[in-house]
Amino acid sequence: METTAKKYPAPEGNPETKEYWEAAAKGKLLFKRCTACNEPHYFPRSICPFCFSDQTVWEESSGEAEIYTFSLMRKSATGPYAIGYVTLKEGPSLLTNFVDCDLATLKIGQKVKVVFKPTDGAPLPFFTPA
């Protein structure tokens, strides 16, 4: 099952996540790290969801990740697609879709890497086998 070119919704953005989307436009995947407790998190917040410090800073991810789990949706209005969680090399896990691959061959534990897809606004991160 191949993924097909699909129109994705443009992120609305807000003052809290502005830098994330500016980086995405340059093909960079950012996450946040708290300088008080040193924990990384995703999606990015200004206040750390672990220790509630306001000392959070942006960090760039390598874009390297591993599939935690996934599910192949057999039918939809836009065709089959695979949703899943990946765990970034830097720690946080995030929800995504897998693209540019044979969806029937996806496996838990598989190495994947980030790839950005265009929208009418900022591009969105997806993952594809590394």
């Binding site: 789990t69 192949l72 720690g91």
Partner: protein, 382 residues
């Protein structure tokens, strides 16, 4: 301060409709409210507390006004399908605090006829919405990881549906009355791997209502006495993406809280209503609230263990969401209703548990593999 034994379920009603193109959603709420009042032997003027969830047309203010209720206690905690189990706890808290004496809780909707009310979006929207999470694929992700970590099989998942179908054959209102086999389930088309069509609940119109009151008032009414002796609620999300584990639910917190308040154990339960949005949901929740060790849920449900009269834990004897109904894609209300029928001795004779005096009601709401809440209630026949 505990709410143990402070709230009685004095009236229940399950709408018989499963397809209601000729009725409005507000009308269904009112019909359910009327049914529960008649069951309790009360009138609308007796109600002084009202609870509905966020899906009700216009919310709690519009619904209370539509039904002409004059109340002194309002609540509308929105936690998807388990909202109604949480409402039971909140009604008990209000009664215990003297803020209400007779609380009505209603649920109704028509997802089979028309579109569902939109889900509220949270701060995660830009980071998740494009990935097209649906109930099927989110619960599919939980099932796949559960299989990976614990060796759970599609055949074990199928046993949950088989048990539901055995019960539904006796329910004249059930949408799906045919008994199915494990083979039927695993040979049905894959919807979102590893979940097959028969691993998924039905989509139905309908609704239900309960009336919660104090011991003093319940004793003055006509129904057998059923009270709540323990309650718990909790929530779980990806929490910033740290230590993601989709194989357990917030039931690991709501279940033990409810059992501790009640002073009973899972093994004391004569009957269990466990929300069955999908087969995997039942397996995970049974593990989480303590019916078996984590990872052993597949083995626990296999070989008919959930079938009344056959297995050790009679479960969802109305046919549940998998076969009976699933109003507004929210299963918490109907779980309460069948547990009360069991405790009153009013379940179908073919599925009635003999001397059923202790039951657990448990459900999750929202999306199990993303953000969800869970609630557990322990009910007792007095």
């Amino acid at each position: 301060m505990s709410i143990k034994g402070k709230a009685y379920l004095a009236g229940i009603y399950e709408h018989p409709t499963r397809h209601a193109p000729d009725k409005s959603t507000a009308q269904l709420h009112a019909e359910c409210a009327r049914g529960a009042l008649i069951d309790a032997g009360l009138t609308k003027h007796d109600i002084d507390g009202y609870i509905c969830a966020g899906d009700a047309p216009g919310g709690v203010m519009a619904m209370a006004d539509y039904m002409g209720l004059k109340v002194r206690h309002l609540d509308s905690t929105e936690t998807g399908g388990c909202s109604y189990i949480i409402a039971l706890g909140h009604a008990a808290e209000a009664i215990n605090a003297g803020k209400a004496s007779i609380v009505l809780v209603t649920l109704a909707g028509k997802p089979r006829t028309g579109a569902m009310p939109p889900r509220a979006v949270g701060p995660e929207v830009d980071f998740e919405a494009a990935y097209q999470a649906t109930t099927h694929n989110i619960y599919g992700m939980c099932a796949l990881r559960h299989m990976h970590d614990y060796g759970t099989t599609s055949e074990q998942l199928a046993w949950v549906k088989v048990a539901a179908s055995h019960h539904a054959q006796y329910n004249p209102h059930a949408m799906l009355k045919d008994v199915v086999t494990v083979e039927d389930v695993i040979n049905s088309p894959l919807i979102s791997d590893p979940l097959h069509r028969l691993d998924c609940c039905v989509v139905s119109d309908g609704g239900g209502a309960i009336i919660v009151t104090s011991e003093e008032i319940a004793r003055s009414l006509k129904q057998p006495l059923v009270r709540m002796i323990g309650h718990g609620e909790a929530l779980k999300g990806p929490r910033g993406g740290k230590d993601l584990d989709l194989t357990y639910s917030a039931g690991v917190w709501s279940g033990p809280a409810a059992f501790a308040e009640a002073g009973v154990k899972p093994s004391d339960m004569k009957y269990a209503s466990i929300y069955d949005s999908f087969t995997i949901t039942v397996i995970m929740q049974l593990e989480d609230i303590g019916f078996c060790e984590k990872g052993q849920g597949g083995k626990f449900v296999a070989d008919g263990n959930l079938i009344s009269g056959v297995g050790k834990l009679p479960w969802n004897t109305d046919g549940g969401g998998l076969c009976n109904n699933h109003p507004v894609n929210r299963g918490g209300m109907t779980k309460i209703l069948e547990a009360v029928r069991q405790l009153r001795g009013e379940a179908h004779p073919k599925v009635q548990v003999p001397n059923c005096d202790l039951a657990v009601v448990h459900g999750t709401g929202g999306l199990l593999g993303v953000r969800h809440a869970a609630s557990t209630a322990i009910l007792e026949r007095v």
